[in-house]
């Protein structure tokens, strides 16, 4: 995705990423690349962010597209592995499972960063994020099979939190 | 080959739906029932898409999209109801 840095465009394009996403979704919904739909989609993608500016108080900028791209593929790969692991755990005997709750200390402070981290944790190996403490310091996570708590936390921090810190440190 | 695979897939997803209904009726807690409903709508998307493949028609796709959107809203509303005691503030 493009990251326009020119402040001049802010009046007309308050949220460039939202505009791009809306445009793509319009074309996907109509399942076409006809010129008419491209133009209509573009008009809608320009006007909808303008009309809904008050719903998007903070501006989101993607400072580090390459890191996001790499993060995306790591997550996709992990989802596939996670599913095979979870399928094995589910089909195995129940008494072998060791479920447990644990807390992860959050280093990402940006709200969007926290929600992306929580979503990633839910989609990847054997863990579901359950709750964020009110002060946004800890994330409560449930694991289907908790072998070694410190290892799991370490892995989540290294694999998923580091790139998110890199992406969101600027805003 | 494709027809055979589709028939086996119908059987498997149908069985999955049956399991979900068992959990929906048995409970034992409210979140279990919400989870069962959530899984039922995701599985019905699967069965609709499979039926679309079987009939070789892309018509069922819109229904699948609508079920996805409405099901998500339903799950969120039910969970919010458990969290707060009412849905709208």
């Amino acid at each position: 995705m493009k990251t326009p840095n020119k402040p001049k465009h802010n009046r007309l394009l308050p949220h460039p990423i939202l505009t791009m996403v809306l445009w793509i979704i319009w074309l996907l919904l109509n399942n076409t690349l006809a010129p008419g739909h491209i133009v209509l989609g573009f008009i809608l993608a320009i006007t909808i962010p303008l009309l809904t500016t008050s719903f998007w108080p903070e501006k989101i900028t993607l400072s580090n597209p390459w890191v996001i791209f790499k993060f995306f593929w790591v997550v996709i790969g992990d989802i596939l592995i996670a599913n095979i692991i979870v399928a094995k755990l589910i089909l195995g005997p129940n008494r072998r499972l060791k479920p447990g709750f644990f807390l992860i200390e959050l280093e990402v402070q940006h709200p969007l960063g926290i929600s992306i981290l929580a979503n990633t944790i839910s989609l990847t190996p054997g863990t579901v994020s359950c709750d964020v403490t009110a002060d946004r310091k800890y994330l409560k996570v449930h694991a289907l099979h908790l072998e070694n708590k410190t290892d799991t936390i370490q892995q989540i921090k290294q694999r998923y939190e580091m790139p998110l810190i890199k992406v969101f440190e600027s805003c | 080959m494709l027809i055979l695979a589709l028939k086996i897939a119908f059987l498997m997803v149908g069985l999955a739906l049956l399991f979900n209904f068992y959990r929906l009726i048995k409970g034992p807690s409210l979140p279990d029932r919400i989870l069962a409903l959530d899984t039922i709508y995701i599985n019905s998307i699967a069965i609709l898409i499979l039926f679309g493949l079987y009939q070789q028609s892309a018509l069922y796709f819109e229904a699948a999209l609508l079920i996805a959107v409405m099901g998500f809203v339903g799950t969120v509303a039910l969970s919010k109801y458990l969290l707060r005691g009412d849905i709208m503030e």
């Binding site: 399942n31 479920p99 409560k140 | 999955a16 959530d38 999209l65 969970s79």
Partner: protein, 103 residues
């Protein structure tokens, strides 16, 4: 050849969907049951949708990409609904399995 690939995608998808539901009836407490549908079922339906996208791309006129929309939507919403359900369950203190390790 293409038919075989499609068949494999469909069977993998149906298998993961079934595994998710088996988890739903088999596992002992709510928090563990949550794992089945969020992961296995989402990937299962995603796989079936990929098969559908491939099928309609090669049979009809032009590329059929709107299945991607449902797949993306499911992958974005599944963790959110799981998170909300877990939060609700914690809030009303749904009983946990005896073995659950705390903190």
């Amino acid at each position: 050849m293409l038919e075989n690939i499609l068949a494999i995608f469909i069977l993998i998808g149906a298998f993961f969907t079934l595994v998710g539901s088996i988890g739903l009836i088999k596992l002992p407490d709510f928090y563990m049951r949550l794992h089945g549908p969020t992961k296995a079922t989402t990937l299962g339906v995603g796989s079936i949708l990929v098969a559908s996208a491939i099928y309609f791309s090669q049979s009809d006129s032009g590329i059929s990409a709107h299945e991607v929309l449902v797949t993306l939507f499911l992958f974005i919403t599944a963790p959110i609904s799981a998170h909300l359900m877990a939060k609700a369950a914690l809030h009303i203190q749904t009983p946990q399995s005896q073995k659950t390790q705390q903190k």
